[in-house]
Symmetry: C3
Subunit: 267 residues, 3 copies
């Protein structure tokens, strides 16, 4: 596949250009998110004060907005960051954690979507909930969400909001409205580490900060995380060690390891 | 002992039923708490916005309220969660971190107690401070608190608030007003890992979410953590590695390991 | 050098006296900060509510204020803690994370400086930005800041604010206005672990809480962290493992290891 050849170049791009990634994310994952970005070669900054968020957006190559532990203040600052990004033409990534779980989340998410994230990254349930809320249908988190159904929801979101949608899961599915890329890397133990999806979104932020083609950038991020995860998982006894070994592997993954393990395809 | 035989069943129950545990906890431990719950088989959610806390309480099997880094907003949301739990008849666990350290903490704790937590889990100093504040006596954190004194305080709290009290320490002591269970598992190095007591409270939340008998559920949680801690501590050089290995062991502890190491007794 | 002989005594002092260190720090590092303090023998408390910060300052041996993820509320509470420390004559440490990045940070930092921190610990860019903001010159974070320039900025700050300034970096430089101490311990991989500078500030807080001579205390803290970092870095594959192994080594570093590796000098 032609795309594969370029993906390692994008990983090297992040390592050499060290994009500044501004994160407004949840309390649970902040430490891992920062460490994962550093390990991938990016430069993380976490800042959420309304008094400085527009300045931070302006300084950064990209922003990542993750609603995991949102509240009234943080949702206002997220909207401010999204609006500023949109105004300045800066790429930003939306991670709609827990979409569908509460009306509060769904309301904020619809407002955020209006500021046109460059990528929306969620699990199947979240992507479906986003699309459903969009249509005014019943809300809810369905953890047994069917992948195909989520793909249709993703395509709908991608077209309506002119964004790229990445469904993370056993197979990561990236849709941009015209094509679909599947990334089949990763390991089941990764689901036992909190915030793995949040790490994915943060890495996507790093890649869209320096890579022109956003589909390629998102694919590179997901492949990098998936491969680092599967290579680490083979060395460990449980999820505690995996969390750390994965950071090590993001840091030291080689081109050979990457191309020996990558499993992507287009539909 | 008859109770011992049922404890592993409760651990399997958490693993198979994967209770949704809603946490309003402190910033220091959120990541470890989420990972410990995942490793034990539960499904953690951290959410603290007043705009959605009642919805989260309703969704969850149990809530855990830990005042470690409380402030004015968070204390209001904790009260809202406790009140909602009480109204809906949902079990909730109180971890009175730093009880007695400041009048602010003591005031909020007394208000929280009025919403009848199913379990109060604290160290000896915290349990004594809770009971003292209750009686209007002098407040203070006494880290050299005598266990027996804490037991009396715990029994007083258990009876007055119709709750179960778990004193965590070298020996964990669980009192429900009519009986006392002692869990003698654990390892001294665990005291050098931040938030080990918070992990205990979160695990208790998972167990009371699916186990009918709350004394058994609390005992199972404390034994699980203590055994995972002592087995992990033997493999490591210090508290950094222990934090991670303990998560691994929560994930992969076997029935044989559990029954080879459990040390509980009744009084 | 005479100073060297006393440094291990200070490390033993922290281990035996277990100072209570009150931290108002950023969300990213809270867990590591608490674990590093515990591993060094100190007793950490994280508390930021305006309703209890004065009480916490009064209880603690020292406070550490780190503006990494400040916002409007947190900046008010930081000012309250600094003011209370100043009033009570309690030592407090300022970590000006991201100084120069935004006007919001610079404004709060100038207000904080007025309450006379006992030590200001920042990287070269932050120390220069602090000094520049001080002089009304152009603000900005210059990550390629020249060390000598930072030394001059540090001396200026030290004299003007009657404080000790510690510039963390490949060589840590401690200036108190009359003498300069260089600590050449550490390892490049430490820059890939988030919040290593924040750990340094927290450890300084522990040392100034029990050591009379603040220059010695700060030097001991930086040497301890640097040596623990370099000994750990030799054992690991990447920054994820380093974060944990460093905590282990803070806990079990021996006097022999300390004196075999310490590299300090005076100017």
């Amino acid at each position: 596949m032609v795309m594969e050849k370029i993906l390692w170049k994008h990983i090297e791009s992040v390592r050499s250009k060290s994009p500044l990634v501004h994160n407004i994310t949840n309390y649970v994952v902040m430490n891992n998110t920062a460490n994962a970005l550093l390990a991938a070669g990016a430069s993380p900054i976490m800042a959420h004060a309304k008094s400085e968020v527009p300045d931070m957006v302006a300084l950064a190559h990209a922003s990542v907005i993750n609603i995991g532990t949102l509240d009234e203040y943080w949702s206002e600052t997220m909207l401010l960051a999204a609006e500023t990004s949109h105004k300045l033409g800066k790429p930003w990534v939306l991670d709609p954690v827990g979409a569908g779980a509460t009306p509060f989340r769904d309301k904020i998410l619809q407002k955020l979507l209006a500021f046109k994230p460059i990528v929306v990254k969620g699990n199947a349930s979240e992507i479906m909930a986003l699309a459903q809320a969009n249509e005014g249908a019943t809300k809810g988190v369905d953890s047994t969400a069917d992948s195909n159904e989520a793909v249709n929801a993703a395509i709908g979101l991608a077209i309506q909001h002119e964004t790229l949608v990445c469904i993370s899961g056993e197979t990561d599915i990236i849709v941009n409205g015209t094509q679909t890329v599947l990334v089949k890397n990763g390991h089941p133990l990764m689901t036992k580490v909190t915030g793995m999806g949040c790490t994915a979104s943060a890495l996507i932020g790093a890649f869209v900060g320096v890579v022109e083609d956003k589909t390629e950038g998102t694919t590179a991020a997901m492949a990098l995380l998936g491969i680092a995860g599967e290579l680490s998982a083979e060395q460990v006894d449980g999820p505690g060690s995996l969390q750390l070994k994965l950071i090590d592997k993001l840091h030291n993954l080689s081109e050979k390891e990457f191309y020996d393990h990558i499993r992507i395809s287009k539909q």
